[in-house]
C-alpha cells in the first residue's frame, strides 16, 4: 500500500479550514457512525447551526472558543488513495503548532474567505508554505455563497491569492470556488458555479504526488547513536537522502575519516546489501573509526562542504528577538552545534509583509540570520539538498526558530582580495609563524594594556613579529576625529578591527587592547578578521579593577564626572565563550603572560 498523501490545510482564523475538512470527511463518506448525529446534538444543545468544524475541534475548550487549538490529523480514503489531513490552526498564538503539523505535509490547501479576502494569517501561512518547501498548493476561495457565487468576485480574490503566492515564488495548481458548509466543489461539482470548469478540491488533491525522501540524491545519514553488539560497533540513524551499500567507501564528517561499510544492520527484516532514503538502519565499518552521535555519513564524492559560517532563512518563533552576538543551538536532526548570531540580514513581518528593523525582530518574522559555529559543520543548502539543509534553532531549551541553510559563507579566505604579488603564506614563511589578531577585551583597569605590552615584548624577544594596537596609538592619530559617544566607540572599534586585519594580512601578530564592552562590536571585529580572530577575555572582576584604579577613572565615574563608564554606569557584556580567559587578580604579570604565551604560540604555530 502507498503512503497516505499528507495535506496541510492553511489559512486565516475563521476562514473555514476546519469546516472544509469536516465537510470533506462527510462528503467522502468517512465520518464514523453516529458522528453526524452527535454533531447535530451538540450544535442543537449549544443553540448554533450545524458546525462541521466540531468534527475536529474535539477538545472542550475549542468548542467553547470555536478556534482550533492545536494541530490535529484525520484520515480518509478516496478512490483507493489514502489521505492524511493536517489541520493547522489559524489563531495567531498557535503558529508554532501549525509549523509542527505542516512540516510533514506533501501538499497544502490555502483557504481564503470570500468576504474578508487575504488576511494576516493567509500571508503568514503562505510564508510558512514557502519555508516548508510546499510546492503542491491549492487555493480554496470559501464562503462563495456569501457573495452570491459571483464570478467576478471570485476572479478578483483568485488574482489576490495568485499575487501573494507569486511574491514568494509559489504558484497554486488550482484555485477553487467553494462553499465548504454546503459542500460546493469539495467532492461534488457545484451547480451554483456553472462558470467554473477547473477541478474540485478532491480532484486537485488527487493530482498531487507523495513526496518521498530523495533516494537519488547524494547520501546523507546523521548518526543518532552507536551500539556495541558482540564485537561490532553499529552506528544507527535514518538515511535522509541517497543510498548506501555494503562495500561502499564513506566519509565521516566533520572528522573527514574514510571507512568501508562492513554491514547494513536491521533486525527481523529481509537481508539487503543496500539501503535507501527513508530507512532506519545500522552501519558497521571494517576500519576501527571513531563515530559518534551527530556525525554525518556521506560518500566522499558528493559530500557536503564543511564550514564555520552560513546564512539561514528562519521563521522566528520567539517573542524575544534574536540578538547579534548571542549563542543559539542549531539542530540538524541529531547533529547539534552551538552557533553565534553574527548578523541579522533582512527581516520581514509575515503578516504585514513589511520590512522590520533587525534590532527588534517580532515574533513570526521571517529573517536572514548569519550564524557561525565554533567548529566546522557539514552544510547542505536549500538549493543543493533541501532535506538536510533544514535546521531548528534552540535558545536554552526553547525552540525559537526553524528554517534552512541558504548559503555557506567563508569570510576568512576571501575577505581581503588583493593584487599583492607577495602572498600571505610567503610572508608567514619568512616570519616562521602564522599571523593572528589577539583581541583583548575586559574592564578598564583589568590589565589589558599591561599584558599586551608585556606579551609584545616577550613575543618579540622570541623572534615573533607582533604589534600592539591600543587607545594610545589609535586615538592619537587615526581616530582622533572620534569621541566617546556610543556610535563613536563602535566606529573606533570598527577601524581598529580593520587595521588589525591588515596587520594580520601583512603577517604580523596584532595585539588589540580595547575595553570593547559590546558583544555586537566584537562580533563585527570577528567578521572583519575572519579565522585570524582570537578573543582573549581579561576577566579581572570590577572590584579588583576599581581598587587598582591606576588612572583614577573609577573615582571620577563614581563622582559622576564621566558618563557611561563601563562597569560603573554602562554595561560590560562578557564574552560567552572566549578563546581564552585570563584572571589577573592576585597574580603577577609574568604569570599571566606565561599563560598567554602558551596559548599564542600554539595559535600561531606554522601548519
Amino acid at each position: 500500500m502507498d503512503r497516505s498523501l499528507r495535506v496541510a490545510v492553511l489559512g486565516h482564523v475563521d476562514h473555514g479550514k476546519s469546516t472544509t475538512i469536516g465537510r470533506l470527511l462527510h462528503d467522502t463518506d468517512s465520518l464514523p457512525t453516529g458522528k453526524l448525529e452527535e454533531l447535530e446534538a451538540i450544535s442543537k444543545r449549544r443553540g448554533v447551526p450545524l458546525e462541521w468544524s466540531f468534527v475536529l475541534d474535539a477538545l472542550q475548550a475549542e468548542r467553547d472558543q470555536a478556534v482550533t487549538i492545536d494541530t490535529t490529523r484525520v484520515w480518509f480514503t478516496w478512490k483507493d488513495r489514502r489521505y492524511a489531513i493536517i489541520d493547522a490552526p489559524g489563531h495567531r498564538e498557535f503558529v508554532r503548532n501549525m509549523l509542527s503539523g505542516a512540516s510533514e505535509a506533501d501538499a497544502a490547501v490555502l483557504v481564503v474567505d470570500a468576504i474578508e479576502g487575504i488576511g494576516e494569517q493567509t500571508r503568514r501561512h503562505a510564508h510558512l508554505a514557502r519555508l516548508l518547501g510546499l510546492r503542491q498548493l491549492a487555493v480554496a476561495i470559501n464562503k462563495l455563497d456569501a457573495i452570491g457565487f459571483d464570478r467576478a468576485g471570485f476572479d478578483r480574490l483568485a488574482e489576490d491569492a495568485r499575487a501573494l503566492l507569486a511574491g514568494l515564488g509559489l504558484e497554486a495548481r488550482a484555485t477553487i470556488p467553494v462553499s465548504a458548509r454546503d459542500g460546493d466543489n469539495l467532492v461534488h461539482r457545484s451547480a451554483r458555479t456553472p462558470w467554473y470548469d477547473g477541478p474540485t478540491l478532491i480532484e486537485a488533491l488527487d493530482a498531487f504526488e507523495n513526496l518521498d525522501m530523495p533516494a537519488e540524491s547524494p547520501l546523507r545519514l546523521r548518526v543518532q547513536d552507536v551500539y556495541r553488539i558482540d564485537d561490532r560497533r553499529i552506528a544507527v540513524g535514518r538515511i535522509e537522502s541517497g543510498r548506501v551499500a555494503v562495500g561502499d567507501t564513506v566519509v565521516l564528517l566533520p572528522s573527514g575519516a574514510n571507512a568501508t561499510v562492513r554491514s547494513i544492520d536491521r533486525w527481523n527484516a529481509p537481508v539487503a546489501e543496500v539501503a535507501i532514503a527513508g530507512e532506519s538502519i545500522g552501519l558497521s565499518f571494517h576500519e576501527p573509526v571513531f563515530v559518534d552521535r551527530g556525525d554525518t555519513i556521506a560518500h566522499p564524492e558528493g559530500a557536503p562542504p564543511l564550514d564555520y559560517a552560513f546564512r539561514a532563512v528562519v521563521f522566528w518563533l520567539s517573542e524575544a528577538p534574536p540578538v547579534v552576538g548571542e549563542y543559539l543551538v542549531a539542530q540538524f536532526g541529531p547533529t547539534s552545534a552551538r552557533v553565534r548570531v553574527a548578523g541579522i540580514g533582512r527581516a520581514l513581518d509575515t503578516s504585514s509583509l513589511a520590512d522590520v528593523a533587525t534590532g527588534a525582530v517580532p515574533q513570526y518574522a521571517m529573517l536572514e540570520l548569519d550564524l557561525r559555529g565554533r567548529v566546522q559543520l557539514p552544510l547542505d543548502t536549500q538549493a543543493s539538498l533541501p532535506a538536510t539543509s533544514r535546521l531548528v534553532l534552540m535558545r536554552e531549551t526553547d525552540v525559537v526558530g526553524g528554517g534552512f541553510v541558504e548559503s555557506v559563507a567563508t569570510r576568512a579566505t576571501n575577505l581581503h582580495p588583493s593584487g599583492h604579488l607577495v602572498t600571505r603564506a610567503e610572508r608567514e614563511a619568512v616570519h616562521g609563524h602564522r599571523a593572528a589578531v589577539l583581541w583583548m577585551t575586559g574592564l578598564s583597569g583589568a590589565g589589558k594594556s599591561t599584558l599586551a605590552m608585556a606579551l609584545e615584548r616577550r613575543l618579540f624577544g622570541s623572534g615573533y613579529n607582533a604589534f600592539v594596537l591600543d587607545g594610545d596609538n589609535i586615538r592619537a592619530g587615526l581616530n582622533r576625529d572620534l569621541g566617546f559617544a556610543p556610535a563613536d566607540r563602535s566606529e573606533n572599534l570598527r577601524r581598529v578591527a580593520e587595521v588589525a586585519a591588515l596587520l594580520a594580512e601583512a603577517g604580523t601578530i596584532a595585539i588589540v587592547a580595547f575595553i570593547s564592552p559590546m558583544e555586537a562590536d566584537r562580533e563585527l571585529a570577528r567578521q572583519a578578521c575572519g579565522s585570524d580572530f582570537k578573543e582573549i577575555y581579561i576577566s579581572t572582576d570590577v572590584e579588583t579593577c576599581e581598587a587598582r584604579d591606576t588612572k583614577g577613572l573609577y573615582a571620577r565615574a563614581r563622582a559622576g564626572e564621566i558618563a557611561d563608564f563601563t562597569g560603573v554606569s554602562a554595561p560590560y557584556e562578557a564574552p560567552g565563550s572566549p578563546d581564552i580567559a585570563i584572571q589577573t587578580r592576585g597574580r603577577s604579570v609574568d604569570e599571566c603572560v606565561d599563560e598567554l604565551l602558551t596559548f599564542v604560540k600554539q595559535a600561531v604555530a606554522p601548519h
Partner: protein
Amino acid sequence: MPRDADLDELEARSIYILREARRCVAPLAMLWSIGKDSTALLWLARKAFFGAVPFPVVQLDTEMELPEVYQFRDDIAKAWDLDLRVEMCPPEASVDQTLPPASRAAARKTEGLKNLIGHAGYKGVLVGIRRDEQATRAKERVFSPRSFGSDWDVRNQPSEFWNHYTTDVPEGTHLRIHPLLHWTEVDIWRYHERENIPFCDLYFAREGKRYRSLGEKNITVPIESNASTIAEIIAELETTREPERAGRVMDHDSEDSFERLRTAGYM
C-alpha cells in the same frame, strides 16, 4: 510481493523516535498494556535495538484484565526476555469520585502511572497511543512534556518539526513519548500481519464476538464480528464506520470525559 512502502515508512519513523528516546532521555521505561498497539511497539523496540528491549517494560495493573491477557503477558515476557515490572494501581475508592463510574478505572491507571514515576523517577515513558484513536490524542506531540502532577498543558505544547524533539525537561517533570502516534488502527494490524507479531487472541472472534480494543473486563465490551484472521479483521475495519473505542465505556460517559482524563495525566 513488493514491500509495503507505507508500513516501511511508519516503521522507520518509529525506530528513529525510539532511538532518539533511548539516547536522549534517561531513565526510560515503556508502558505495556498487553494490547495490540503496545505489543507492536515492543516489537519496534526490538527492531530498533537489534532484538533486545533495553529498558524496563511496565504494566499498570488493575487486576481487572481478562485472564487471557495475563497469560499472554507472562508468555511474551519470558520469550522476549523482558524486564517486566508490574505496577499495582491504587483501589477505585482512592480516585476522584466525581468522575463517571467507567472513567474511574482509567483514573486508577493514571494514579498508578503517577506513583510509578514518583518512585522509579522515570524521565521518559514510552506509550503506544495513536492519533486516530481519539480526537484529543490526535493533538499530541511525539515527545510530550508533563508537569509535576503529570498534567498535560495542551495549550502550550512545544514546537515539534523536522525530526527535532524536545528531550530536555525540567527536574521533577517527565516526557510521554509516543512512537506510534502517526499509525492508524489498520496500520497496526497490517504490521502485525506482515511481521507475524504475537498478540492476545481475544482480538479474534469467538461465537460471533471479538474484542476490538482491550480494556478492563468490567468496562470493555466485545463487538459483533466473525473475523478470525488478521486479514478478516483488516477487511472488517476497512468497511466499518464504528469508532475503535466504541467498546470502551469510559469514552462515552460524557462529552468531555476523555479529555478530563487526559489533562489529568491519563495515557
